[in-house]
Amino acid sequence: MIAAAAAAMIVASTLAATEPAAAADPAATPKEAAERFEANVTLTEAQYQQMLDEGKLREAGKTTPPAVSKQQTAQRSTAVDTATPHEPALPPATAERQARQAAAQEAATSTDEVTVTAAPAIGDTPDQALVDQCMTDDAEDGFGRIMNRFVYCKRFETSVSFWRYPLGIPVLVGRNEFTLELFAHGDDHDRRIRTFARVQEGSVDYDVWSPFERLFVAPYVPLELIANCVEDFNTCAATRGPVTLPFVVWDNSDDWYYWDIRGQESAGVGRDKISYAQWYVQFRGLGPGVPDPGHSAYRQIRCDSADYFRLGAGVYPMACIHNEVTPHLTMSRSDLAIGEVARHIDLAQLEPNRTYPLLVPLGFPVPRDKVIPGRYIADDAAAPGLHRIREAVDPEYQANRDHVRGACYKEGPNAAEYADTGLPERPDTTVDQCDEYPMASTLEGAAHPDWDFSVRAVAKKANSDAGNLVRDYYVNDRILSVDFTLPLTDNDRYYVNIVD
């Protein structure tokens, strides 16, 4: 009678909580959906009894825990591939649009902190320094945290719940709660993201189970982890098999396991074979019963085969990045080397009417405000960005340089255009250079027919150092140059963020 009453209380308290196999709301955003994708296991009475029987054997010392193999198969079996559901690939334009919306929503926590040095090579375990830098409180946000386009992490609490249905009424037998840690590292040499996952050591709790079950049943339930692609093999390929270990082993280990998520070049579009894919980590309780897996929220990656990323002797012919962050170059007004350039850009972005060239000569009525793009606005997905161009292939680069020469020195093919609106005093070329914003290496530079620009004399070294910073940024944040065979809205873009 007491047991029945206890069971009824459990039913009453849990019915209002988590229903088994809660179906995902297809209209939900990935952020919302992630919080509800916990795993469940449905047990028949016989299967539940089997678990209890196995527990009794453990209690009596009559079973030797099977040797736990922490090996993970390098090959993914056909059975696993077949059993993994897939969704249609998003059209590139849709994927890019969704990524930008997500980036604007998550700007407070996904910050695109681009370092001046390239990320370390990807190994079989994640770089601990990067993990430490990434896995802050912001990583516990439902979305996780994109630290920069090559580094993503997430830490979240989830669970596997075990249900039985005496007389058709759902009864929660027990719930294994745990914290899952994910770390995904983009490769700058290959079209893959290496996704690492583990159960945070010491995070497992056995809730609701009876005292006996808490000691002899729950910890021995196997938990399986595997990373999967959302799309099928035509778009995305996931390598390596699942990892299945008892909860007690997960809870007492800090080992990482990894899978490679590859963006198929054959699915790519344009000159750089850009493709989009999504991945997630699935988890489920195994052993007796029918598992209903849970999974992390889908995260989008962009892969490319651009052949122009070089840094000295280093060549970076392919890459995959986390696309749901707004790429931006940060420059400090107080930086000793480039502060002068940063202050110029700041003025151009915030007070463009105070910059040269003027719209009309002094003394004439000003018809409108100058409009200069590229300012980083964290939560604005529609803010006008800058599109990278290259002098080797884009004639706009030469045109930009010609216009800047006209605006600064009143020389060259555009001299007449800026005769009365350009800089009133030429830069002294023994010490200064003409700085321009937007930069010459952007489509929105001085020659753009629709955007305005700014020029100013700055110290030669500051201008040169700022140019080298842009060089590093383009490589370290994988800024693709514009491909005119694709709609401009589908092309990569970046912003410039001026800070103190």
């Binding site: 001046v116 122009y308 990323f309 070089r310 840094l311 000295g312 002797a313 280093g314 080397a337 990278r388 290259r390 002098e391 080797a392 680069y397 030469q398 340089r401 010609d402 020469r405 020195y409 020389e411 060259g412 093919p413 070329t429 023994t430 250079q433 321009e436 930069m439 010459a440 290496s441 070294k461 201008n463 040169s464 150092d465 700022a466 140019g467 080298n468 842009v470 060089r471 590093d472 383009y474 490589v475």
Partner: protein, 195 residues
């Protein structure tokens, strides 16, 4: 003139190449590398993997014949060493010559110094010139197909090149030495510059 080599295609959008008279150690010393820190390396990739206990930006150098040394740098984080007028003055002192070209995504530039004086600076995108005698090479450059300093004229051979290759072509005209891909094969002497 044969098509100038494409340094941007080889090394990306950030490099500085300096040609100067003298041997490797004279060149590197003039660029603030302590000869005691120099190490031989077979390739540029090997050089990139080297570390030193002293701070500095990596320079690699090799003699290319005719009494000339070629110095290459990719770092640029403290400014291009070879583009610094003070460094060019040191390298070109007492009858010497030093010529550097550099590239970043937003700019290319050539600097030519002789007898510790920056004679000519050239912007290969706009053909604008400056220096103590910016007109000194006008005739030579024009004969090679370069437009004048106002941007007028010029051959399709030169105008059809991207600015970074025009910089290489201009270096050839001013120094009489054409860079070849083989010059970048190595071996190199590598060392950190304290500049």
């Amino acid at each position: 003139m044969a098509d100038p080599i494409d340094l941007t295609g080889m090394f990306g959008e950030g490099w500085c190449v300096t040609l100067t008279r003298g041997d490797v150690f004279e060149a590197l010393s003039g660029m603030e590398v302590d000869p005691a820190d120099c190490r031989p390396v077979p390739t540029l990739a090997d050089a990139a993997g080297l570390t030193w206990p002293v701070p500095g930006v990596l320079l690699v150098a090799r003699e290319i014949g005719a009494g000339l040394t070629l110095v290459l740098e990719f770092d640029g984080s403290t400014g291009w060493v070879g583009a610094d007028p003070d460094v060019l003055a040191v390298l070109s002192a007492t009858g010497g010559m030093a010529c550097s070209i550099y590239k970043n995504p937003n700019r290319e530039e050539l600097s030519y110094a002789a007898d510790a004086d920056l004679v000519t600076g050239l912007d290969p995108a706009t053909f604008r010139r400056w220096g103590s005698a910016p007109e000194r090479f006008d005739d030579t450059l024009r004969a090679a197909g370069f437009p004048g300093p106002d941007g007028d004229g010029g051959s399709s051979d030169i105008l059809g090149l991207p600015p970074s290759q025009r910089a290489v072509a201009a270096m050839t005209v001013l120094t009489g030495t054409a860079l070849t891909a083989a010059m970048f094969d190595g071996p190199w002497a590598a060392g950190p510059s304290a500049h």
